[in-house]
C-alpha cells in the first residue's frame, strides 16, 4: 500500500511540473505595464511591452479612443507607447501580428478616476492604484532610458528636453496653459517622494510621490494667496482641505488658471442641485440669466460674504486684471 501511495504522489508531482511548464510557455508579447485592473488618474498612460521579435513584426494597441501601431525591429525587445484613455472603464487590446495575421491578443482593464465627476469619483473596488517608479520597473526601462534625476535643485533647464523625465512625460505639458514648474521640468520640486497625511499608505511605493494634501506645496510659491484666503471668513471646501489639485491641474490645461474643465462644469460637477437651473437659465442668480461664468460673482476660493460672493474691491481688481489682459 505504502509503495502505491508513493507512486501516486510522484505521479501527481510529475503532472504538476508538466502543467507548470506548459502554462509558463511565454506568449509572443508580454504586457509589462499596465497591470490588470489598474487605477489611473490621468487620461494618458504608458504601455510597456516585451516582444518576441522573431514571432511578431507589429503590435497594435486599441481602445475606445483610438489605435496605435508599433513596428517591431530586431534590435530591441522592450517597447513603450503612450496612449490616451477616457474617463471611467477602459479596455486596452494589445494585438500582435506576424505578416498581417493576428497571432496573439491580450486585454487590460483599466479605470480612469476623477474627483470632478461624480460618476467617476468612486471607482469599483477591483481596481487598484499602481506605482511605476520602483526599482524593479525602472530596471526594465534602463536599457533605453536614463532613469536618474538630472534636475539641478532650483535651476531650470535651458533646454527642457534635456530632462530625463521629458521623454516619457512630455504629453503632460502639451496643453495651452502650462504651469511654470512643470513646463520647465522642475519635477522634483513637487514630486519629492514624500507622503502627507492623505496618502500616508503610499509611503515607499514609488520614488516620485507627491505629498497629499498638496496645498503645502502650492503655497510654497503662492504665498500671497495663502495669506489672503486664510484671512477670509468662508472658505471653499477643497481649499480648506488642501486639495488644490481637485480643480487645478498642476501640469497644464487647455483652460485658464489650469482648471481641469471649463469653470462652470467644474462647479456644477459638485453642485448638482444648480445644474438644471443654470441650464434652463431659471434662477434667482442674475449671472445664470446673462450666461456668465460662476466665478464672475462667486469667489472660488474664499470670501467674507455669504455664498462666496465677491466684494466690490475684489470684482474691481479682477476687472482691471481682465482689462490688462485684453490690452495685451
Amino acid at each position: 500500500m505504502r509503495e502505491l501511495k508513493a507512486i501516486v504522489r510522484a505521479g501527481v508531482l510529475l503532472l504538476a511540473v508538466t502543467a507548470c511548464l506548459f502554462s509558463a510557455e511565454t506568449p509572443p508579447t508580454v504586457v509589462i505595464l499596465p497591470q490588470e485592473n489598474a487605477l489611473v488618474h490621468e487620461v494618458t498612460l504608458s504601455v510597456v511591452l516585451r516582444v518576441d521579435t522573431k514571432a511578431v513584426d507589429s503590435v497594435k494597441i486599441l481602445n475606445a479612443v483610438g489605435e496605435k501601431q508599433l513596428d517591431i525591429n530586431q534590435s530591441k525587445s522592450i517597447y513603450c507607447k503612450t496612449v490616451r484613455l477616457e474617463l471611467g472603464e477602459n479596455t486596452l487590446h494589445i494585438r500582435s501580428y506576424k505578416e498581417g495575421a493576428l497571432i496573439n491578443e491580450q486585454m487590460r482593464h483599466l479605470y480612469v478616476t476623477s474627483p470632478l465627476y461624480s460618476q467617476y469619483k468612486y471607482p469599483p473596488t477591483e481596481y487598484k492604484r499602481q506605482f511605476f517608479h520602483t526599482d524593479n520597473n525602472e530596471s526594465t526601462c534602463r536599457s533605453c532610458h536614463d532613469m536618474s534625476v538630472n534636475e539641478q535643485k532650483g535651476i531650470a533647464f535651458i533646454d527642457v528636453s534635456e530632462s530625463n523625465c521629458y521623454a516619457c512625460h512630455h504629453q503632460l505639458t502639451k496643453a495651452k496653459y502650462a504651469h511654470a514648474p512643470s513646463v520647465n521640468w522642475l519635477c522634483t520640486s513637487c514630486h519629492n517622494g514624500k507622503v502627507g497625511s492623505d496618502n500616508a499608505w503610499q509611503a515607499g511605493r514609488s520614488k516620485f510621490l507627491v505629498a497629499k494634501p498638496v496645498n503645502s506645496l502650492c503655497f510654497g510659491c503662492h504665498k500671497k494667496n495663502a495669506k489672503l484666503w486664510k484671512s477670509y471668513r468662508f472658505r471653499h471646501e477643497p481649499l480648506d482641505s488642501g486639495r488644490c489639485n481637485k480643480c487645478h491641474n498642476s501640469h497644464a490645461s487647455p483652460y485658464k488658471m489650469f482648471v481641469r474643465k471649463p469653470v462652470n462644469s467644474i462647479c456644477l460637477g459638485c453642485h448638482k442641485d444648480k445644474r438644471m437651473k443654470v441650464k434652463q437659465r431659471d434662477s434667482d442668480c442674475e449671472g445664470t440669466i446673462k450666461g456668465k461664468e460662476c466665478v464672475a460673482c462667486h469667489s472660488p476660493h474664499a470670501s467674507d460674504k455669504q455664498f462666496f460672493l465677491m466684494s466690490e474691491e475684489e470684482k474691481k481688481r479682477l476687472e482691471s486684471k481682465q482689462h490688462e489682459r485684453e490690452r495685451r
Partner: protein, 502 residues
C-alpha cells in the same frame, strides 16, 4: 594583652595620620605666618599715633634752588594734559594738543646762568655762522655758547656732555614719553633734523621745508638703510593727499612721539581720517547699510585708500574696479543681512558683456557710480533706491536706473524710435508692457546689473520664488525672442511685427 596591642596600633595610626596631614598641608608654615601677621597688627595698634610723622630736612641752599614758578608751570601743564586725556579723549583735535605741547617745549632760559657764563658777542662768532640765518637758537642768539659748549678748550665746539640729546633735554624738558617714538628721537639724534645754531626754516630745521626734511629719509632713493626707506612717500605720483601738498606731513604725523602707530595722534585706520572728512564720517557711522570693507575690516580706510599719493583718483590704491575686486574675488559675507555676496570677479570674467560704468571706468565711474563704498541708506549700498523684488511696477518710484537711462523707455506705449527702445514689436513698446500696471516687473527681472553673456545685459537666469528660470533669450538682427517661465516663446521684430501686445 589584646587590649594593649589594639591601643598601641591605634596610637601608631593616630601619630602617622597626624604627621601625614602636617606634611601635606604645611601646617607649620601657615601657623608661622599667622603669628607674624597678628604680631604686626598688635605692633601697629600700639604705635598708631606716630604712624604718619616724617622727618624732612632741607637746607636753605636747596630751597633757594627750587624754581617755584617753573615747577608750578610744569605741574599745571601735566595736570592739563591729564584733564585732556580724561575728559575729551577723541573730540580734542590733534592739532591743538600738539600746539600745547610745542608751547611747553619753549624753555625759559635761565638768564642768571647765562649771565654768569661768558657771553659771546655776535661779531666774535666764528666765520662759518655768517651770514646769520632767519631763525636762531635762543642761546646762540644770546651768545651763551657755554650752555652747550665747553669754555676755554683748545678744541672749539667741544660739548659740555658727551651725548648731544642730554644737552637738549636740559632745557627742552618735555621728554618724549608716549607710546611710539620717532627713531631719531629714540636714539637721541636730535641733530638729524634740527640745527643747533640757526636755520632759514622754522624750528631750526635742516631742510628748506618740513616735507623735504621728512623726504630726506622717507624716500625710495634715500641712502638711509632703515625702515624709513620702505615707508617712503612717492611725491611724483599725480594724485596726492591735499594736506601734504598744501601744508605738511605734520598735519597727521607728530615728528617726535605719538600714542598711535606711524607717529599719528589718532588711530590711523579710521579716526584720523574722519577727523577731517566729516561728510564721510556721517556716512560711515549713521548709514543704515554699511560696507564691510570699511565697517568690518582690518585696515578700515586704508583697505582702499593710500593716505599719501597714488596713481588713481580718490587716492585709491588701484584702479577703481580692480580695487573692489580685490575683496570681491570670492563670495563675501554681507554686513547687511549676513547672506553671501556673489563672486563678482568670477561673474565679470564669465560674462563678457559689462554694464557701461564697469566697462568705461574713467568716464562713467566704475562700481562706485552705483554703489557707495562708504555706506548708504539703500540696500546693497546703492546710491539711490532700487528694488529687490521681481514684481515692482514703475509708477511713482524713483528707481536708480533712471538716473542714466531715460524714462521714455518704459513710459511710451507706442514708438518707432530706436533711440528710445529697441525692445519693440513693430511700434509696440515691449518695455512698456512688461513694466507697467499691477504686475509690472522691475528692471532686474530681465536685466543683470553687472554683466551678462547676452546683449542688452539680459540675464541668463531670473530668480523667481527662489528658483532660477532661464530666459532663453535669442537676439536677432531686427528683434529677438524670449521663452522664460513667465510665458511661452514669444518673438518680436521691429520691422516685421509678430503681433505681440495687439
Amino acid at each position: 594583652m589584646n587590649k594593649n596591642v589594639i591601643q598601641t596600633l591605634f596610637l601608631i595610626l593616630l601619630v602617622g595620620s597626624g604627621f601625614y596631614f602636617y606634611q601635606t598641608y604645611n601646617v607649620g608654615e601657615k601657623l608661622d605666618r599667622f603669628v607674624t601677621i597678628m604680631g604686626n597688627i598688635a605692633h601697629s595698634l600700639q604705635n598708631a599715633k606716630h604712624a604718619y610723622e616724617v622727618d624732612i630736612n632741607i637746607s636753605d641752599e636747596e630751597l633757594s634752588e627750587i624754581n617755584i614758578t617753573k615747577i608750578s608751570k610744569e605741574m599745571k601743564s601735566s595736570i592739563d594734559k591729564k584733564k585732556e586725556k580724561v575728559h575729551t579723549p577723541r573730540v580734542a583735535p590733534v592739532a591743538i594738543a600738539a600746539d600745547e605741547i610745542r608751547q611747553e617745549e619753549k624753555p625759559i632760559h635761565n638768564k642768571a646762568r647765562a649771565v654768569k657764563a661768558k657771553l659771546v658777542r655776535m661779531e666774535d662768532l666764528p666765520k662759518k655762522f655768517k651770514p646769520l640765518k632767519k631763525y636762531l637758537h635762543e642761546p646762540f642768539k644770546m651768545g651763551a655758547c657755554q650752555i652747550c659748549h665747553v669754555a676755554n678748550t683748545n678744541k672749539p665746539g667741544d660739548l659740555v656732555r658727551k651725548n648731544i640729546h642730554e644737552i637738549c633735554y636740559e632745557c627742552h624738558k618735555t621728554r618724549y614719553t608716549k607710546k611710539f617714538d620717532h627713531k631719531p628721537v629714540k636714539e637721541g639724534k636730535c641733530m638729524d633734523c634740527h640745527d643747533p645754531h640757526q636755520s632759514n626754516t622754522k624750528k631750526l630745521l635742516k631742510a628748506d621745508s618740513i616735507n623735504n626734511l621728512c623726504l630726506k629719509c622717507h624716500d625710495k632713493k634715500s641712502t638711509f638703510k632703515d625702515r624709513a626707506r620702505k615707508q617712503f612717500v612717492n611725491m611724483k605720483l599725480p594724485v596726492k593727499h591735499k594736506p601734504i601738498v598744501k601744508k605738511s606731513c605734520l598735519e597727521c604725523h607728530d615728528p617726535h612721539t605719538a600714542d598711535h602707530k606711524m607717529l599719528l595722534n589718532l588711530d590711523a585706520k579710521m579716526d584720523l581720517c574722519l577727523d577731517c572728512h566729516d561728510d564721510i564720517k556721517d556716512k560711515i557711522h549713521d548709514s543704515k547699510y554699511k560696507h564691510g570693507g570699511v565697517n568690518n575690516s582690518k585696515k578700515r580706510c586704508l583697505e582702499c585708500h593710500n593716505p599719501h599719493a597714488t596713481k588713481h583718483k580718490k587716492l585709491l590704491k588701484k584702479d577703481q574696479v580692480s580695487m573692489c575686486l580685490t575683496c570681491h574675488d570670492k563670495e563675501v559675507k554681507s554686513d547687511e543681512d549676513g547672506g553671501m555676496l556673489m563672486n563678482m570677479k568670477k561673474h565679470l570674467k564669465e560674462n563678457p558683456k559689462w554694464h557701461g560704468p564697469i566697462k568705461n571706468v574713467a568716464k562713467e565711474g566704475g562700481c562706485v557710480a552705483c554703489n557707495d563704498p562708504h555706506g548708504s541708506n539703500n540696500f546693497s549700498i546703492l546710491r539711490k533706491s532700487f528694488t529687490k523684488n521681481f514684481y515692482d511696477n514703475f509708477e511713482n518710484k524713483e528707481f536708480f536706473c533712471f538716473k542714466c537711462h531715460e524714462q521714455k523707455k518704459v513710459l511710451e506705449q507706442y514708438t518707432i524710435n530706436d533711440k528710445i527702445t529697441k525692445f519693440r514689436d513693430g511700434d509696440v513698446n515691449l518695455h512698456y508692457l512688461h513694466v507697467n500696471d499691477r504686475k509690472g516687473r522691475s528692471c532686474r527681472a530681465c536685466h543683470d546689473e553687472h554683466a551678462s553673456k547676452y546683449n542688452h545685459l539680459i540675464r541668463d537666469y531670473t530668480d523667481f520664488n527662489g528658483i532660477k528660470f532661464p530666459l532663453r533669450f535669442i537676439d536677432t538682427e531686427d528683434g529677438g525672442s524670449c521663452a522664460p517661465a513667465c510665458h511661452k516663446k514669444f518673438e518680436y521684430d521691429r520691422i516685421d511685427p509678430k503681433g505681440i501686445g495687439r
